[in-house]
């Protein structure tokens, strides 16, 4: 393992988003808080949520996880597509870094950005409402694994896309709908049966449901089952990404 090389790529990927922190950290935090203000204002008392918690309290973990999901994905995908389009990906490709080291560095930087945005949304939201904390283990494990899944999906999208509009398509037709329809704003128990069933095919639903369990101790499905689903996705997508990198798909002729 080229530890120093891996560490350098991870630091470089981190510097890449911290250098433009207004866009990569503050803007998504403000967006999440706008959702909080508007949805909490309009829907408080009108939504059927889990247990006896207020809708605003219910909403916050969902918004935090949505911020984690979207920003982890954005980090690795935008970095890769920019490097590909501008051609500077070769600086990484001609080095003694292995596929695993490249994958891990891109994904971990995505995890870090997801956590930073998620944490900032959480901290600011605490000014608005008291939030219980049932089991921090679930909170941490779901944040880590979900951001890793999305960081990995970002690597896949970044490798696959050849143009910015293809990546925008991936973001807007896959990531955004799946995250909005995952139960950020509602408990799936309040949905008609068909939509409830369909929601169970959405991997993001398990991320948010398991994460919420860490705060409230109650969830739509068993959190260990959710953990299993997210872990399976992570292993499957990571293996697929390593295969893509190894095959040279769209990055080596």
């Amino acid at each position: 393992m080229n530890w120093l090389g891996f560490r350098t790529l991870f630091i470089k990927e981190t510097m890449r988003f911290t250098k433009v922190y207004l866009q990569t950290l503050f803007a998504p935090m403000i967006t999440a808080l706008l959702y909080l203000l508007i949805f909490a204002q309009v829907l408080e008392g009108r939504m059927d949520v889990l247990g006896d918690f207020s809708y605003t309290a219910f909403l916050i973990p969902g918004l935090v996880m949505m911020a984690v999901i979207q920003n982890s994905f954005a980090n690795s995908s935008s970095s890769l597509i920019q490097s590909k389009v501008t051609g500077n990906l070769i600086f990484v490709m001609v080095t003694p870094l292995s596929y695993l080291e490249i994958y891990l560095a891109f994904t971990l930087a995505a995890v870090l950005r997801g956590i930073l945005v998620g944490l900032s949304v959480y901290i600011v939201a605490l000014f608005f409402v008291q939030l219980p904390l049932f089991n921090i283990f679930y909170i941490i494990i779901f944040v880590l694994m979900s951001s890793a899944v999305l960081g990995t999906l970002g690597v896949i999208a970044g490798i696959w896309a050849e143009k910015f509009d293809q990546l925008a398509g991936f973001t807007n037709f896959i990531i955004m709908p799946l995250s909005f329809l995952s139960g950020v704003f509602y408990s799936i128990h309040s949905l008609p049966p068909l939509w409830q069933t369909l929601s169970h095919f959405n991997p993001f639903f398990y991320m948010i449901d398991g994460f919420r369990y860490g705060f409230f101790g109650t969830s739509d499905v068993n959190p260990l089952f959710s953990l299993g689903v997210v872990a399976t996705f992570l292993v499957g997508l990571a293996s697929f990404t390593l295969y893509l990198l190894h095959s040279g798909y769209k990055i080596r002729d």
């Binding site: 350098t8 051609g87 490709m93 003694p96 080596r252 002729d253």
Partner: protein
């Protein structure tokens, strides 16, 4: 002397186009080697296979004995490659870029002194904290060279390092590359310029349509007469009178007030040519000599020598 770059039976096809048709080549350690060929000949493809950016369909390349696929870590540690295109990472400054590149190769802050040396040698001292975006083309080219050398590779590959570079920078790059060579680096260079290949390369290979069509010492190739070809455009103050047969036979292009002539120095020199034109009543206002494209001449020579 051991082999720095060994290329064996390299084949590469892109879709239906056969870019490389079984390339064999050995470049010795410490050698200054020139790879020439027209655009699309397969030069960059070959270099990309060396650096791992492209995969060969068959055959193998080794850098100092390390296979570029099966032993890529060692191969890449020994190889520094300067790409042809001016690529850069717009997020970072010159010093950041160099430190990051060194880090990829497993080098920590202990290589800072070497980075300073590179910055100094490539005349980037006043740009170290400038963002890559703000650099001129020539400056970006120098950073690319520094990036390729940051891990002190014994084998350095430069893909047209002087393409689109002004004369002054070209000369300073030559001085720098010669210094690298004197210090023991093996240099593989692709170029379009006769002057460059003549003054730098000890041996030359010419690639055309994915095949090596000539491979020899530069002096041997030049002795075949290819270095005597000259081209000049002569501008007149008034339309010249009809010219004699021995001059019109040299003309490759003619306008009302100018002619372009191509000639062989062993047959006629420019002063003699000017004298003859004067005798025939031409009033020459200006002369413009042109850099001859080396591989054009070589390929021309090769084609002429075909049975």
């Amino acid at each position: 002397m051991s082999i720095a770059i060994s290329v064996k039976h390299i084949h590469k096809t892109f879709f239906s186009v056969e870019a490389l048709k079984g390339i064999n080549l050995e470049i010795k350690q410490g050698e200054f080697f020139g790879l020439l060929g027209p655009n699309g000949a397969g030069k960059s493809t070959l270099l990309n296979i060396m650096s791992g950016l492209t995969r060969a369909d068959s055959g193998n390349i080794a850098i100092l004995g390390h296979d570029v696929v099966t032993d890529y870590r060692s191969a890449r540690l020994n190889l520094g490659i300067v790409p042809q295109e001016l690529v850069f990472d717009p997020f970072f400054t010159v010093r950041e870029v160099l430190k990051i590149q060194a880090g990829y190769f497993g080098l920590d802050h202990r290589c800072n002194a070497w980075i300073d040396e590179l910055i100094e040698a490539l005349m980037l001292s006043d740009k170290t904290n400038t963002n890559m975006r703000a650099l001129s083309g020539g400056m970006k080219r120098r950073v690319l060279i520094a990036q390729a050398l940051v891990h002190k590779p014994p084998v350095v590959v430069l893909d047209e390092p002087t393409a689109g570079v002004d004369v002054e920078l070209r000369k300073s790059l030559w001085v720098f590359i010669k210094k690298l060579h004197r210090e023991g680096h093996t240099i593989l260079l692709t170029t379009h310029y006769l002057e460059e290949a003549e003054s730098l390369c000890e041996r030359i290979a010419i690639l055309n349509h994915g095949k090596i069509v000539a491979l020899d010492h530069t002096t041997t190739l030049l002795d075949q007469g290819v270095g005597n070809q000259r081209s000049a455009t002569l501008f007149f103050t008034e339309t010249p009178p009809p010219l004699s047969q021995d001059i019109t036979s040299l003309i490759s292009k003619q306008d009302r007030l100018s002619i372009t002539v191509e000639f062989d120095l062993s047959r006629i020199t420019l002063p003699v040519l000017l004298e003859q034109l004067k005798k025939q009543g031409c009033k020459v206002r200006d002369i413009q000599t042109e850099q001859i494209d080396l591989e054009d001449i070589f390929i021309d020579t090769i084609q002429r020598n075909k049975p």
